[in-house]
Every structure is written in structure tokens, then in C-alpha cells.
């Protein structure tokens, strides 16, 4: 059974996930050097978006890959 699943499905390249990875790396790097305005709770918006938002992005992107395989 396991061997069948290894052999029969072919190999699909997950294009959308690869693009999400590129966005994470390139967008993330650029986002780190922006001068962000002050935000709530004595933190600037950069910390909210790039740190706490970054975790949400990664979890959502991983779930997308698991659900769609794309």
C-alpha cells in the first residue's frame, strides 16, 4: 500500500507554496528594514506584522499546502 502510494502519484511541484516561501523570505527581509510607525501596546507595527503576524503567515501557509498540495 505504502509502496503503491510512493510509485503511482508522480511528483507535483507545489508552485503556490514555493511562491509563498519566496514571499516569506524576500518580503520578510524587506519588511525588517522598514521604519515602522508606533502601534499598540508600546510596540511598533513592524513587530506586530513581522513577528506575531509572521507566525500566523507560516501556520496558514502550511495548512494551505496540506489541504491543497499546491
Amino acid at each position: 500500500m505504502a509502496a503503491d502510494s510512493n510509485r503511482s502519484t508522480g511528483r507535483r511541484v507545489p508552485h503556490i507554496t514555493l511562491m509563498l516561501m519566496a514571499l516569506f523570505l524576500v518580503g520578510g527581509s524587506l519588511g525588517l528594514i522598514v521604519d515602522w510607525p508606533a502601534g499598540p501596546a508600546n510596540l511598533d507595527w513592524g513587530v506586530w506584522l513581522m513577528v506575531y503576524g509572521g507566525y500566523v503567515y507560516v501556520v496558514a501557509a502550511a495548512l494551505f499546502y496540506v489541504k491543497t498540495g499546491k
Binding site: 508522480g10 527581509s29 513581522m50 499546502y65 496540506v66
Partner: protein, 494 residues
């Protein structure tokens, strides 16, 4: 009962349970494959937790929290990136590696290199680089555990080191991969509960989320934003390094991809792994920032976590959380030791034997080599050369520089050749080491990098360039190798 007595009791019960599991699993295994991989015997939860627990290590709890306490949100992008590491590795490497492992007999990444690069040379060099990097990596974990015992139990560092080191090395020698993966899941669950309690407690003690950040910003004004204490290139390169380059930088964790037999198991394992990592890193950031407020004068950053636990938690609860931290440490050590034992037997000892070797003899050699490497790391931990996080970073740099692109291109690019892989591997390691040395020559400190650019970024990029150029200049790989590794495209097209 005094606090130290309660900590001792809880940790004693915990370690006894883990040792019991090791003995029980030992009675079930029959072969080297069972010992090293437990292929097909583990579910997605066990694999996912095991990957993350191995990847995060005691350094994540002791070293990284201490580092994040010092550098604040300048360091947090590295934590986000670390949480993304399972995403990169599962998608870019995991599925392909699992498929290859179903066709080629593989116990370690070196076996994959041997098969892909139709030569023993890249694999042997990879084994030597890994063994070189593993000893300080294990020593860093032992130091983390020794520091924890030192603070909470009040016992001397060397006694703590000997006690913990002996337990974890014996446990690994006895148990093998199935025991390691199951105990990883148990330890992962304890970590979630422990951090779920400690993080909000510490934030409340620091005055609440908003007030904690106001105070932290006053104490460390350069560390409350993304850039300030550290230069932009330091922050950006740490962000790049700790996610994507764990593809090559964490070979012990990558071994988990050789376990599952189906695609769905692997995908579910990824979800467990990322959810677990993200939760732990968010809690870690809150704990680090709160410790900057609550312990502003602490001079050894590595002691931030155990000191916070000792100050904020009742001993029974603190003991459980410390069990979680030691679980992470133990998890990393046992996974690395297993891989090191496997490398010595499968890739260095067995290939030099002319006669057939029976399973029992090979398993005995695996255990003796695991014991030897663990013993060497224990010796190094007696007088460690730097803070935990920076020792781990040096080991990580060697492996990320040497393996990321030989592995990635080997699985995705049919044109990658043996010569390209070997030059890329050695050139990447040399570039990473030279970048360290250049920083040392210029600044007198191994942890200060030219322009703030981490060696673990420079090494892999040099490796990539060398590997592509040399591969294109040398003869293409044999057809049977391309067929073996890229057969799915052929089938998909057909």
C-alpha cells in the same frame, strides 16, 4: 520539603519514566533499521513532535531565550524563521527524501548522498563534517542542562553535568529511534503545558503585555523594535539563516523524513511540527522580554529561564516545566547521538568490512560508538568555550554550509554532479569557517561578524555558487541515478 527536594523528586520520577520507556522499546526491536529509523512504526504526531523537539533543542529554551532577552525584538525574526523551518524542510526536502528512502536503503543522509552522487566521497566527507559538528552541539545541550540543575537544585555544575549526561547517553544507547520519537512526543506535550503556564505568568508579573514592553523599551531602547541594538544586516541574515538553512543545518531532525511511509503521514506531521514550534516560539519571546524586565541585572543570559522559573513558579509546577526544558535538551542529544552512531556504523565502519556482519555485532558497534561520542561531548561540556547559543550556532554553520545545497539540489536538480556536490560541500564549510575567522581577526570575538552578516548565510551561498558552476562544468550524472531520483517526473509525464 524544600524547593530543591521537590525539584529533585519530580525530575527523578520523570527520568525514571523515560528510562523505563527506553528499556521497553529496546525489548521490541530486532534490527539496525528499527534502532535507527523505526520506519513505518510511528504516527504523524510522534514524527512531527520529534522533528520539532530535535530542531529546537535545549538551546532554544536556554540559549535562545537568553539571547532574545539581550537583543529583544532584534532577535525575534530569527524565532519566526525557526518556526517556519519545518515548512521549508518538509515541502522542499521531506516528501522527496521519503520517496527516495522507499527505493534506496537509507539510514542516514549520507546514504542519500552516496546514492545520489554515485560515489562514497561526498558521503564520507558529510559524515566527517557532521561528527565534527555534533560533539560541540551535544556539549552545548549538556551545558544547558547543567546550568538548569545548578540553578534549581543548587548542586555544582560538574555534578549536574555528570548526572544528566550519564542518564541521557545511557537512555539513547538502550532505546533507539522508536523510544526517542515517542519520548519526544511526551516531552513536547509537557513543553506546551509548561510554556502555556510560564509565559502568561511572567507577562503578568512584569506588569502585563503593554506595561512589560514599556519597561523593556526603557531598559533596552534599541531592542524594543526590529532593528536598533543590532545592525539591519545582522537581523535580516539571522532571519534568513534560521529558517531556510535548517534544510542542511539540522541533519538529525531531517532523519525524521526517512520514517514515514506515506505522503499523508508526512503532511500531518508537518502541521503538528509547525503548530508546536510556533506556539513555543511565541511563548519564548514573551518569556524572554519579561525576563529582561524582571531580571535586569542577571549577568549570565543562559540562566534567565531557570532563574525565572525558580522566582515565579511553585517548585512542583516549576519542576514540570524544567522537565519540559530538559526534555528538549534530551531530545536533541539523543537524536544527534543516534545519528552519530549510525554514521560511524553505516558509513565509516561497515563499508570497510570485507566479510558479512551480523545484525547483533553491528548494533553493538552502534551502541559503543554512540557511547564514545556522547562521552567526548561530556568531556567538552566540562569547560565549554562560549555561551550555549553561540556554540550551537557554530555547529549549525558547519552543517548548513556543507549540506543545504548538496541536499536540495541533489533532490531537485538532475544535473547536480558528484564533483559539484563535493566542491560545494567543502567550499561552503571553508567559507563559513573563514567568515568566522575574519570576524575574530577584525573584532576579537567569534560572535561578531563582518557587516553583521552571519557565517551561516555566507557558507551556503558560496556552496550554492560553487556547486552550480562545477556541476555544469563536469559530466552529467549517470542515467540510472537520474532515473532513481527523478523517476516520478518520468512517470508523471508518461
Amino acid at each position: 520539603m524544600e524547593a530543591a527536594g521537590q525539584y529533585t523528586l519530580i525530575l527523578g520520577v520523570y527520568f525514571a519514566l523515560m528510562m523505563g520507556l527506553g528499556v521497553w522499546f529496546n525489548s521490541r526491536k530486532r534490527s539496525r533499521t528499527d534502532y535507527f529509523l523505526a520506519r513505518g512504526k510511528l504516527g504523524p504526531g510522534a514524527i512531527g513532535f520529534s522533528y520539532s523537539a530535535t530542531q529546537m533543542s535545549g538551546s532554544s529554551y536556554m540559549g535562545a531565550i537568553g539571547t532574545e532577552r539581550t537583543f529583544g525584538y532584534n532577535f525575534s525574526p530569527a524565532s519566526v524563521s525557526s518556526a517556519a523551518a519545518p515548512w521549508f524542510t518538509y515541502v522542499l526536502v521531506g516528501d522527496r527524501l521519503r520517496r527516495v528512502a522507499s527505493r534506496v536503503r537509507c539510514h542516514t543522509l549520507v546514504d542519500v548522498f552516496d546514492a545520489r552522487y554515485y560515489s562514497k566521497a561526498p558521503g564520507r566527507w558529510a559524515a566527517m563534517i557532521m561528527l565534527l559538528a555534533f560533539i560541540p552541539l551535544i556539549a552545548a545541550q549538556l551545558k544547558a542542562a547543567g546550568n538548569t540543575f545548578e540553578v534549581l537544585l543548587g548542586i555544582p555544575y560538574l555534578v549536574a553535568l555528570g548526572l544528566f549526561g550519564t542518564i541521557v547517553i545511557l537512555y539513547t544507547v538502550i532505546g533507539g529511534m522508536e523510544a526517542v520519537a515517542w519520548t519526544d512526543m511526551i516531552q513536547g506535550s509537557i513543553m506546551i503545558v509548561g510554556f502555556a503556564v510560564l509565559a502568561p505568568t511572567a507577562v503578568i508579573a512584569a506588569g502585563g503585555f503593554s506595561e512589560m514592553h514599556r519597561q523593556y523599551g526603557e531598559i533596552n531602547p534599541g531592542s524594543i523594535g526590529l532593528i536598533g541594538t543590532m545592525p539591519a544586516l545582522w537581523v535580516v541574515s539571522s532571519f534568513l539563516v534560521w529558517g531556510f538553512f535548517q534544510i542542511g543545518g539540522a541533519p538529525a531532525a531531517i532523519t525524521r523524513f526517512l520514517i514515514p511511509e506515506t505522503d499523508s503521514t508526512l503532511k500531518k506531521a508537518m502541521v503538528y511540527s509547525i503548530a508546536f514550534s510556533s506556539f513555543i516560539y511565541v511563548c519564548g519571546t514573551l518569556i524572554a522580554i519579561s525576563s529582561g524586565v524582571l531580571l535586569p541585572t542577571l549577568d549570565r543570559a543562559d540562566l534567565a529561564l531557570p532563574t525565572l522559573i525558580a522566582n515565579l513558579m511553585p517548585p512542583v509546577l516549576g519542576g514540570v516545566i524544567i522537565a519540559a526544558v530538559l526534555g528538549a535538551t534530551m531530545s536533541t542529544i539523543d537524536s544527534i547521538l543516534l545519528l552519530a552512531g549510525s554514521l560511524v556504523v553505516e558509513n565509516l565502519w561497515l563499508p570497510r568490512r570485507n566479510s558479512e556482519t551480523d545484525e547483533a555485532t553491528a548494533l553493538r558497534v552502534a551502541r559503543v560508538s554512540t557511547l564514545t561520542i556522547g562521552g567526548l561531548a561530556l568531556l567538552m561540556a566540562i569547560e565549554p568555550p562560549a555561551a550555549i547559543f553561540w556554540i550551537v550556532t557554530m555547529s549549525f554553520t558547519l552543517m548548513a554550509s556543507g549540506f543545504t545545497f548538496p541536499l536540495l539540489l541533489g533532490l531537485w536538480w538532475p544535473r547536480a554532479t558528484r564533483q559539484g556536490a563535493l566542491v560545494g560541500m567543502l567550499g561552503g564549510v571553508a567559507a563559513g569557517v573563514l567568515w568566522y575567522l575574519a570576524g575574530y581577526v577584525l573584532y576579537g570575538d567569534m560572535n561578531s561578524f563582518i557587516g553583521g552578516v552571519w557565517p551561516a548565510l555566507v557558507g551556503p551561498l558560496v556552496s550554492l555558487a560553487l556547486m552550480v558552476v562545477v556541476s555544469l562544468l563536469t559530466a552529467a550524472p549517470p542515467d540510472d541515478v537520474v532515473e532513481l531520483f527523478f523517476a516520478d517526473e518520468v512517470e508523471a509525464v508518461a
